[in-house]
Amino acid sequence: MIKFLFKGILRDKSRSLFPFLIVTAGVFLTVAMYCYIKGAEASFIRSNANLLSGHVRVMTEAYAKEADQIPNDLALTDLPSLIQDLQAGFPGFIWTPRIRFGGLLDVPDENGETRSQGPAAGMAVRLLSPQTPEIELLDLKKALVRGRLPERPKEVLISDEFARKLGLNPGERATLISSTMFGSMSLANFVVAGTVRFGVSAMDRTAMIADLGDIQDALDMKDAAGEVLGFSMDSVYRQREVDGMAAIFNARRVDARDDLSPFMMTLREQPGMALMIGRLSYATAAIVGVFLFVMSLVLWNAGLLGSLRRFGEIGVRLAIGESKGHLYRSMIYESLLIGALGTLAGTGLGLALSYYLQVKGIDISSMVRNAAMMIPTVLHSQVTPFAYLIGLIPGLLATLLGTLISGRGIYKRQTAQLFKELET
């Protein structure tokens, strides 16, 4: 029977093409939208983790309270021993120290006088250490616009936009004017090895990336760092896992009243992040839910319309003796076949577009030009296993439901009235 119905669907395009196209379009939009929203959510979390907070972040409690002011006077000290402890206690994580610093980047002219100057938002990471994870975490090779990555001490990267604003080219010298850990003014010379673009407006305006050792020297922070970030080996953020780690680490603190002792926070606990992640999850669920609902309504309606359109055909089939139950079942099988074909086609097209956008992404830089948060300027889709199934809800279930409801009309038809109905 299914083979018979399938042939009918293929041969009678007038009754199958429109529902098929509707189902395909609906499923395609559902899958593509779902993947894009999941991708945006993952991009946001990844950006914030890699550039700002890690999956977990170890700081002093006093530093954490004022983290937005970068209080390096409250930085972690005795860094080698702290990292050793973290590596021993949580071997499934990569631990990397960073120093954030603010200051002015001053470009001298040939007489050593200021040629141009601008505020810099700096980050010191292990750039020169062998096997450093930072090149990958910050995606520096991909971010490089001009020049090269630092290979020697006192070489830095600065954001391309910032470099152009200062009229600074790779190979040229600039002086960082900042504050040491003890509050003294610090002047240190660096050579710009290259310029970078991270695709995050908040960083692309004034970023400066330097080697940790150089900044420790410049800011008088021997064996100190503002924070130590932890990343899971597979780069996946798992809330339950990091919550457990933070609880264990913080319970081990020697003196919980000492706000200069190391303290671990999860990505979600960073200021504003819980709200952002919570909102993002709600927004994702709401958008996907509403979209699914609307698509289901459209496809359900298409199912209803299809059945109503075939009012005459149903009458004839009843008139020539086909049982109502057989007719109802055949219509359900038919709708299932069309739903399945449309779901397959729509899911295929949706996944194809999502895989493309997973690589290429959509540039939203014009919308986040002045954003102070770590919002990526290119949003990529993310194909998840659920993306292969989500099309079934509108594609198969809604079409089936539409036919189930509209098909009930078959049982209301009276055989005695059929010819009268067909005459009209």
Partner: protein, 251 residues
């Protein structure tokens, strides 16, 4: 830069003090200003910074000419040795020997602390006489470190001063500030100054141990102790030029 000098050593008038009731608030300010202004001075000071995490001691040598010219070189610790500052009128430059760069300190840099102390570059630049910048009122009398003092409230005459109002405790005989509290326009307390001892040098009374505290900063303040001071010393004019910042060693 004059105010840092005020913080470090306010001189006392040579003349004997007049009875309290015969001096108005403005006259008291005049006497303080007169005492603060000297010709040339060379001093070596220890700056002990009691920050939240550590106590750091810096040693600096200053050459001051009148109100407008000052040159400072840090002698200790090794990390800061050779760092110099030059003040000419309302302009301030700093020189770092490590970077071999001379930077004009202006804009928001002026709010930064000097070597992590409780003193800002803005404090260093403040050179207007108290009488010129503030309207004063005598609000009472108190005893500070066993010295009878007038208590004066000062309110800024113009907007451009760093502190909108101040409350000062002035030694009635020596015309030296023994305590001071500085406020923002909102009334928020910004800085305090407590004098621990006063000495007599070349017929002047000098605050030789002062604790300066930034109320917005953690820590126990910055203590300035004068190790040596010489008035009317000969200072070569070349010292007050930008070229001298790069010259090594300082005279």
């Amino acid at each position: 830069m004059k105010k840092i000098i005020i913080l470090l050593y306010l001189a006392l008038a040579l003349a004997a003090p007049a009875p309290a009731q015969t001096l108005s608030a403005d006259q008291i300010l005049d006497r303080i200003d007169e005492n603060a202004v000297a010709g040339n001075r060379i001093s070596v000071t220890e700056m002990i910074i009691h920050s939240r995490r550590a106590i750091r001691t810096l040693k600096l040598k200053s050459w001051v000419q009148g109100e407008d010219k000052a040159f400072t070189e840090f002698l200790e610790p090794a990390r800061e040795r050779g760092t110099k500052m030059l003040k000419l009128g309302d302009q301030l430059w700093t020189y770092s020997p490590d970077a071999d760069r001379m930077i004009s300190v202006s804009g928001h840099l002026l709010r930064q602390s000097v070597m992590g102390s409780d003193l800002s570059y803005e404090d260093m630049l403040e050179d207007r006489k108290l009488r010129q910048a503030y309207e004063a009122t005598v609000v009472g009398e108190e005893t500070i470190i066993d010295r009878p003092c007038w208590v004066l409230e000062l309110k800024a005459k113009a907007e451009e001063v760093a502190y909108y109002s101040r409350k000062i405790w002035v030694d009635r005989e020596r015309f030296v500030l023994l305590r001071e509290v500085r406020f923002a326009k909102s009334g928020r307390q910004l800085k305090t100054l407590e004098v621990k001892s006063v000495i007599r040098v070349q017929d002047r009374w000098v605050q030789n141990d002062v604790v300066f505290k930034d109320a917005l900063k953690a820590g126990a303040g910055t203590e300035f102790i004068i190790r040596s001071i010489e008035f009317e010393a000969a200072i070569p004019e070349f010292l007050f030029t930008k070229a001298s910042l790069r010259k090594e060693p300082a005279p």
